[in-house]
Symmetry: C2
């Protein structure tokens, strides 16, 4: 009971704060006079009211948040926010089902950026801004989750990153630590977002599009205000700006914080994920552009290079902007992009998937095992950067990757059973669990997720949440031993 009240108190507070985020679309609605103001005001009141009610009734029985409640809190946080955020969409868009609205808001919050809406160009500005704001808030939530919460919970080897951003906070209690970390990261995140808005404006976007796309870029969310995504602008300079900021967002924000704090580039060079990511992406771009040139897809190497650079980085970092229909390229390139989306993003970034440090660790562990076969008595520790990695963490990482893989297999088969073709099914699940956005074929870059039926849509919504919460957090709630004691 006490546990339940603590949870509902915290969630109530969060709902109230979340209510304040409705102010931005309310302002937009007044500014553009798009007739949505009332819906957003109603939504805001419901959020603040419901949140306040929850907080007040559970106030007398609340206590300190315990580690184990963290799992429930995190899962409820994303689920509840996504549900609450559907209200303006359902009131503002005729005939939108709850299934589709929930998919859209979950896609926003998890920064997946897959959409079921068609006609984005004609959508009321405030609704479009709302979608992009969800991306942005979700992105901030993920950074805080990855840097402050998951390492404490010990999910999937994240304890490797424990105390990395410790800085000024020495308190071991969970709440003040999370609050302080969130405050610092929020400043970095907001600062880079402002910079991105300015650069996009300079590159030729209007203010409204610049704000929306900057939100989607920093969060690596990938929502756009146009059905054709970035293809709508057909502008090299916009693509360049987005490319730079997507790469920035795919780097650990704790590293950004440290670099800014020390006014030095060294933290980036010392971050093994950053270096590996840039190398991996550069090599992939060259190979894929060469491959397109070999098949003479665009008749010109540099046109191919431009499109590969933008779309490959967008998918690899799990952003999900699209500028051309890359599903039509020779299959190697789109599949390689999909593969990169599983591993490229860094821990503590707004990207999704397995994360580069886990892939690196897996790789080193396999090398160690080969060595061990030849030298059974030798002991060779594993290092990531300068950090010695304990066996315990390696086990946690391997278990994470296994659960991730099993989730992909099970959900892909579920979509196939539900009637999707195997390529669409696998690519949809990968796009969702990696929070990348577009898949291939039926859910490819030229289309979106609107053709899925309700059941398939729910599976995809679950995949997005599962990926965002690093698989473990959600799966642990389904084990009997979580509910014992």
């Amino acid at each position: 009971m006490q546990r339940f009240c603590t949870l509902s108190f915290v969630l109530g507070l969060i709902l109230m704060v979340f209510g304040l985020t409705y102010l931005l679309p309310v302002l937009t609605a007044f500014l553009y006079d798009d007739g949505m103001a009332q819906y957003f005001l109603d939504g805001m009141l419901i959020n603040i009211g419901a949140g306040g009610f929850l907080a007040v009734i559970s106030l007398p029985w609340r206590s300190e948040v315990k580690n184990r409640d963290g799992y429930l809190l995190v899962a409820f946080f994303w689920g509840l926010m996504a549900s609450a955020a559907t209200l303006p969409l359902m009131w503002g868009i005729p005939n939108l089902s709850f299934t589709d609205a929930f998919f859209e808001t979950m896609s926003g919050f998890t920064t997946t950026g897959a959409t079921v809406l068609v006609g984005l160009d004609q959508l009321a500005p405030s609704l479009n801004l709302w979608r992009h704001e969800l991306n942005w808030i979700g992105g901030l939530g993920i950074i805080v989750l990855a840097v402050a919460v998951l390492p404490l919970l010990g999910v999937g080897g994240m304890q490797l990153y424990k105390a990395e951003i410790a800085g000024p906070v020495k308190d071991s209690k969970i709440t003040p630590r999370i609050t302080e970390t969130a405050r610092l990261l929020w400043l970095v995140y907001a600062g880079i977002t402002l910079l991105c808005i300015l650069c996009l404006k300079l590159a030729g976007m209007g203010w409204f599009d610049a704000v929306c796309h900057a939100f989607a870029t920093l969060a690596l969310g990938g929502f756009s205000t146009h059905d054709a995504s970035i293809g709508y602008f057909d502008s090299v300079s916009i693509e360049l700006v987005l490319t730079v900021f997507m790469l920035i967002s795919a780097i650990n924000f704790a590293t950004h914080y440290t670099a800014l704090f020390r006014r030095s580039f060294k933290p980036y060079l010392a971050d093994p994920e950053t270096i590996t990511m840039l190398g991996l992406i550069a090599a992939s771009i060259l190979i894929c552009a060469g491959y397109l040139d070999y098949f003479n897809v665009y008749g010109d190497f540099f046109i191919g290079l431009r499109h590969v650079t933008f779309n490959l980085i967008s998918i690899a970092t799990d952003c999900g902007f699209v500028s051309v229909d890359y599903d039509k390229w020779p299959s190697f390139v789109p599949w390689w992009m999909l593969y990169l989306s599983c591993i490229t993003a860094s821990t503590g970034s707004t990207g999704g998937g397995i994360k580069l440090f886990r892939a690196l660790l897996l790789w080193k562990q396999a090398g160690r095992e080969l060595f061990a076969i030849l030298h059974p008595r030798a002991i060779r520790p594993i290092r990531i950067g300068d950090t010695l990695v304990a066996n315990k963490i390696i086990f946690a990482v391997l278990a994470f990757i296994f659960l991730y893989f099993i989730s992909v297999v099970v959900m892909t088969f579920t979509l196939i059973i539900a009637g999707l073709d195997p390529i669409s099914a696998l690519s949809a699940i990968l796009a969702c669990i990696n929070n990348a956005g577009p898949g291939l074929h039926q859910v490819g870059p030229a289309t979106n997720f609107s053709s899925l039926n309700d059941f398939q849509t729910w599976i995809c919504s679950i995949a997005m949440l599962l990926g965002r919460l690093e698989v473990f957090t959600l799966i642990i709630l389904c084990t009997p031993s979580f509910w014992k004691n």
Copy 2:
């Protein structure tokens, strides 16, 4: 130099012994007067001559076989046998390229059973028997490898099975142990093969087909004397006999030996792989047959059940016989079959893939990790059956699965780059690395591997060998640290 001579001495001896196996096709050639006798006699002489030469020149410098030479020996054994065995095929089949002949013999030796030959029904009987004999010899080789050699080398957690069949052999030297184990297993293997021949004859096959298909069944090789594979016979009783013997062959032959030795069924019940395999297959058959019925594929549940039972067991156990074109079924079923082919076969059986004990171990490790997150201080050991599994072995198993997975990804991308469509590419690599046989689409059950170009064919040949040698054995030869010292 001494190391090289030891290797060449052993390989020379093996080549000489292998020469004797040409006697069976020589007899067949005389019996059916198919004009191939001379080719096989020439092949036999070349084998015995070359083997004898190798053995004699390296005789003075040879020494005891060391553990580390085991990797080279095993890799050379399969490569050399497959090369030698191409001779009669290349002489006997007009216009057969070395690439295709090597694929065919490698497919035989690794008990993959994928074929590039069209017109099997018209092929000289001695050539068909030769293909099936390669299956059978390869199957025996694999059992010995898995039960006696790999546990000593400590490949992919196989040390878990070390000394399981110890029985009468107490000598710790590698050669006598392998020899004795091979002798015992060979008796079991040959005995069950005889039984299978008799049952197939009783079920309605001619003697020749019965011998050939029994060879292919016990080895889980899956070669057939007919282009339509088992579909040619269209006989429920033949399918039933094959089903029973495929299941028998997918069980650890060390378990068979123990059961026969003690005249008891208990060893099967005590073998966690056997129990799990039967449960997994039974559940899969029911679900898939229900699924076909739901889509009304055959209009009758029991016709669907018959075809699912035979084809699913054939693919899951990595045998690869086919009775209908299951590629035309709703995609869930063929993909599920392909998935089962990765994990279903037991260690020490003639099947391929990851093996059930590794999948079980991975599953338990993930469960342990979930438990560890909730109870960070608790220590929970992992058991397979009654055996406590050391962390060292879990690491080895996880590394195996990772290398297997990376191999699948790399080779699939290689085939896609080489122009194959993604589904054909992935299914071809899975069919080859699991030593299962047929893939989907271009390499599906209604066709075969003959449409692949030379490069693609070589990639598939490598995949077969890689899978058969449990990935590690081959990859370790590519590490610099193997060649140091």
